[in-house]
């Protein structure tokens, strides 16, 4: 393992895909040649100006970028401290940050000649983004989704079907995101020749964590320019929710070397960190190996993976991207967690204060803003990644509010 350049937090991964001890390529031999091929193809695309031009064109005219950096005046007044800005990823086409990554990967799949696209999805936003771009480019699309998530994110299942994708409910294990990923990997080893696996977060084997991060980093790059334009200086703190960690890394990465900037990732604490019913792999897990990389995982003493629990299907994953694991260990990113109840409260609060219904995932980040912002001075500039919109969650939220009222 080569040591990362210590003068930068942005130099990783090394050539083996390691961020410190995290990351790597823990996959079956069948997949290894494909992963090496993908690494090469991505390496070439990355330095090809034509690829970048194509990306930019679709990001502007199809996704609708740049997304606004919006000063949340009433939320700021409510908190009575830091000046809070929302990075409006929920305004992207398909309603979340997921599309930034999917666009990059689908353009890459086209370059490599793959015509069958598979994906895993939790909340369904990554599945919808993948189905959308497959429709746009006339590609076959199969989305694996835990049957529990099929049930709680019905609207997104309908959207995917409408877009011509096939949604395969996964019945194994906990029937959520982790199991959808297992099933997608099983499909991939079976259909290696024809198939491109479009992973939805900064997890999986190298080069996925790096590649997905690069595609999502547009969030942070725009934020940088927009904040300079609005305030004449960089933000003082960044905050985002963490499922696998792609929306968070997208915002954080361009700012990692500005060490004065505080950076917070918010994991899902479910029914509480002590309840055992949560999805906070940094707070409640330890390093292990799953889905192609080493990272913090929820597991028992025997190394068996525990089921994660969160009200938010998009955060319901027992791991976290390996780059976050490393940034946590070296102290560059601070990880907090928000419970289901805190997220529900934040969901309603943001809806009423700003007229923006957030997805349950970023509602976890908003929940921690309510703790952090009041402790910061009024000239402190805080950016929250509003990673998605809440339409998909209305049924879930209604259900929880009703059962609470009872």
């Amino acid at each position: 393992m080569t040591v990362l350049q210590l003068n930068s937090f942005r130099a990783g991964p090394d050539e083996h895909g390691h961020f410190g001890i995290y990351g790597g390529r823990f996959v079956a031999e069948t997949l290894m040649p494909l992963i090496l091929e993908l690494e090469k193809a991505y390496g070439q695309a990355k330095i090809d100006p034509e690829f970048q031009k194509e990306m930019d064109r679709y990001l502007t005219h199809y996704v609708g970028r740049p997304s606004p950096l919006y000063f949340a005046e009433r939320l700021t007044a409510y908190c009575g401290g830091a000046k809070i800005y929302l990075k409006r990823e929920e305004l992207n086409h398909t309603g979340a940050h997921k599309v930034n990554n999917v666009l990059g990967q689908i353009l890459l799949a086209r370059r490599t000649g793959k015509k069958r696209i598979i994906a895993e999805t939790g909340a369904g936003m990554h599945g919808v983004a993948t189905a959308t771009l497959c429709a746009r480019f006339g590609l076959e699309c199969i989305v694996y989704m835990g049957s529990v998530d099929v049930e709680r994110q019905k609207a997104n299942v309908f959207r995917m079907n409408m877009l011509g994708a096939k949604v395969v409910p996964v019945e194994s294990g906990s029937k959520t995101l982790k199991d959808a990923m297992n099933e997608a990997l099983r499909d991939w080893v079976t259909n290696v020749e024809s198939t491109y696996y479009c992973i939805g977060t900064i997890a999986g084997p190298h080069p996925y964590p790096m590649m997905v991060r690069d595609f999502q980093s547009i969030i942070g790059r725009e934020t940088r320019e927009q904040m300079l334009a609005a305030e004449g200086r960089l933000p003082d703190s960044l905050i985002a929710c963490i499922g696998g960690g792609s929306n968070a890394m997208g915002l954080f990465h361009p700012f990692l070397d500005e060490r004065q900037i505080e950076i917070f990732g918010v994991e899902a604490a479910g029914r509480g960190l002590d309840s055992g019913m949560h999805a906070a792999s940094i707070a409640g897990g330890r390093p292990g190996v799953l889905h192609g990389n080493r990272t913090y995982l929820l597991m028992n003493a025997d190394g068996q993976i525990n089921e994660a629990h969160s009200i938010s299907a998009g955060l319901d994953y027992p791991g976290i991207g390996p780059e976050h694991a490393w940034l946590g260990d070296v102290g560059r990113v601070t990880f907090l967690s928000a419970t289901d109840d805190e997220a529900l409260d934040a969901f309603q609060l943001l809806s009423r204060l700003e007229g923006i219904i957030p997805a349950l995932e970023p509602a976890h980040a908003i929940a921690k803003v309510l703790d952090l912002a009041p402790q910061r001075p009024k000239d402190h500039l805080m950016v929250v990644n509003l990673s998605g919109r809440g339409d998909k969650d209305l049924a879930t939220v209604a259900h929880h509010l009703e059962s609470k009222a009872r």
Binding site: F26, A28, P33, D179, R186, T190, D302
Partner: protein, 286 residues
């Protein structure tokens, strides 16, 4: 250094036949029944034993082996008990090679050093760890070789001639050729393609080549064993376990016999292979 695995394949070569390699899951359907199955395997005709270390998320396995792992975990199986099974088996059988097969996380969490020491002293001869490709050799492969265990690698249809040397470099004991691109228990492989692939691998190595994934019947075993040094049967055996269970999901008096009977049939298939190959050769060159 020769191991039990090397000695067994050398002996089979002298006998002029291929090995029957069986896969069953440690602790499936429970510890004691799994031990009784293990003990019955050599007598029924298993030449090499693969014992699965159960894992919650076996990403290269089909439904049959996934279910076997979950049955074992529900019955309380863990790494200590898996090593205990090996120890108890080894007390009564000093000759049959035993290979542990599974995924890396339970080993990593048990602790690599501790695992290698305990596995060696329990009587384990080799390891197959599905999610450790050569790119991750520093994790377990190199320490395992140093500890005197064989590290058996999977070669697959996607492992081309350029990559084969990388895969074979630190492989020992035998090479496990995965006959299909896919998960365990999936479609049956095309025998002629498999024979071609085995020949291709043999151009790169002196090691025995065993073929697995999708082999389930005696005819199949016979056909594939003609062109290989061994065949591996797994999903069919754990399915035999499942079908023998009672309505309560527990083992029945029929469980051990169900596995042993199938192994006997497969062994007859494997043993028939070289004979028919020899006969065919004689017919060609009378």
């Amino acid at each position: 250094m020769t191991t039990r695995i090397d000695r067994r394949f050398a002996a089979l070569k002298d006998e002029g036949r291929a090995a029957l390699v069986t896969f069953t899951m440690a602790g499936d359907p429970d510890y004691h029944c799994a031990l009784a199955i293990l003990k019955a395997l050599p007598q029924a005709g298993a030449d090499v034993i693969e014992l699965g270390m159960p894992f919650t998320d076996p990403m290269a396995d089909g439904p049959a082996i996934q279910a076997a792992g979950l049955r074992a975990l529900h019955a309380g199986q863990n790494m200590e008990k898996t090593l205990g099974l090996v120890r108890e088996f080894r007390a009564g059988d000093a000759a049959t090679p035993l290979v542990l097969m599974g995924y890396y996380n339970p080993i990593y969490i048990y602790g690599v050093e501790r695992f290698l020491a305990d596995a060696k002293s329990a009587g384990v001869d080799g390891l197959i760890v599905v999610d450790l490709p050569p790119e991750e050799d520093a994790e377990l492969c190199l320490p395992a070789l140093k500890a005197g265990l064989n590290f058996i690698r999977l070669a697959t249809p996607t492992t081309d001639d350029k990559r084969l040397p990388v895969v074979l470099k630190n492989t020992s004991g035998f090479v496990y050729y995965v006959s299909i691109t896919g998960i365990t228990g999936a479609a049956a492989p095309d025998t002629s393609k498999v024979a071609e692939a085995v020949k291709r691998i043999k151009r790169h190595t002196e090691l025995p080549v065993c073929v697995g994934f999708g082999v389930r019947t005696a005819e199949h075993a016979r056909a594939i064993a003609q062109g290989a040094d061994g065949i591996v049967v797994g999903s069919a055996l754990v399915e035999a376990v499942r079908k023998s269970l009672g309505a309560d999901g527990r083992h029945t008096p029929a469980t051990v016999a169900a596995v042993a009977d199938l192994v006997r049939t497969l062994a007859a298939g494997v043993r028939g292979a070289r004979h028919s190959a020899v006969r065919a050769a004689r017919a060609r060159n009378p």
